[in-house]
Amino acid sequence: MLVDTDVMIWFLRGNAKAAGALDDLEQIHLSVVTYIEARPGHAG
């Protein structure tokens, strides 16, 4: 599963639904685009 930016940010902000969804996954991938967008200070 490639986790998109919104789901990753929801998870990092403590959203229980996002956390539950990610917990159920065996293997997660992240695009470098999502990594950049999820970093603090990203304006996009």
């Binding site: 599963m1 998109d4 990092l12 470098v32 967008e37 970093r39 603090p40």
Partner: protein, 153 residues
């Protein structure tokens, strides 16, 4: 995400869960450019979403949340003359499933298709053509058809 604790949380999550961060390569950037060309005017597809969608397609992975604007399948071909880029761009026409499109050699031509196994008709002799099939993101996961090479008749 506004402070260092949030950045730390992101990094710890990646490390603890052993989540690989996938870089952008040539194939991903090419696919993303095609998605933006096809969907920006109709739906305002963001470059970032196009890159993420192209990464999912390239890896053959499902996406955690479908990107609604990318909903149709298309066959996209890139044409070269004997494997070399032409300085003078040559008009070419390709057709598939009765639908045709005209473009210039060394440029992308995109034809929406419903059958990934449809045969591409390509009348220009002496040109090599690369065909890639981009499946509908809403139906992921499913096997990704490998790009294959066709030779003009």
């Amino acid at each position: 995400m506004r402070d260092k604790s949030e950045l730390r949380a992101l990094r710890e999550t990646l490390r603890d869960w052993q989540i690989p961060v996938v870089p952008i390569d040539e194939d991903i950037s090419t696919r993303a450019a095609i998605y933006v060309e096809e969907h920006f005017h109709a739906s305002g597809l963001r470059l970032a979403d196009a890159l993420i969608a192209a990464t999912a397609i390239n890896l053959g992975l499902p996406l955690s949340r479908p990107i609604p604007s990318i909903t149709k399948s298309s066959a996209t071909c890139s044409c070269t003359d004997s494997g070399r880029r032409r300085r003078t761009l040559l008009p070419i026409t390709a057709s598939i499933e009765g639908k045709s499109a005209t473009g210039l050699a060394s440029r992308w031509i995109s034809i929406p298709v419903t059958n990934p196994n449809a045969v591409l008709q390509f009348p220009n002799p002496g040109l090599r053509i690369m065909l890639s099939f981009y499946p509908d993101l809403d139906t992921l996961p499913r096997p990704m058809q490998q790009p294959h090479q066709l030779v003009g008749a």
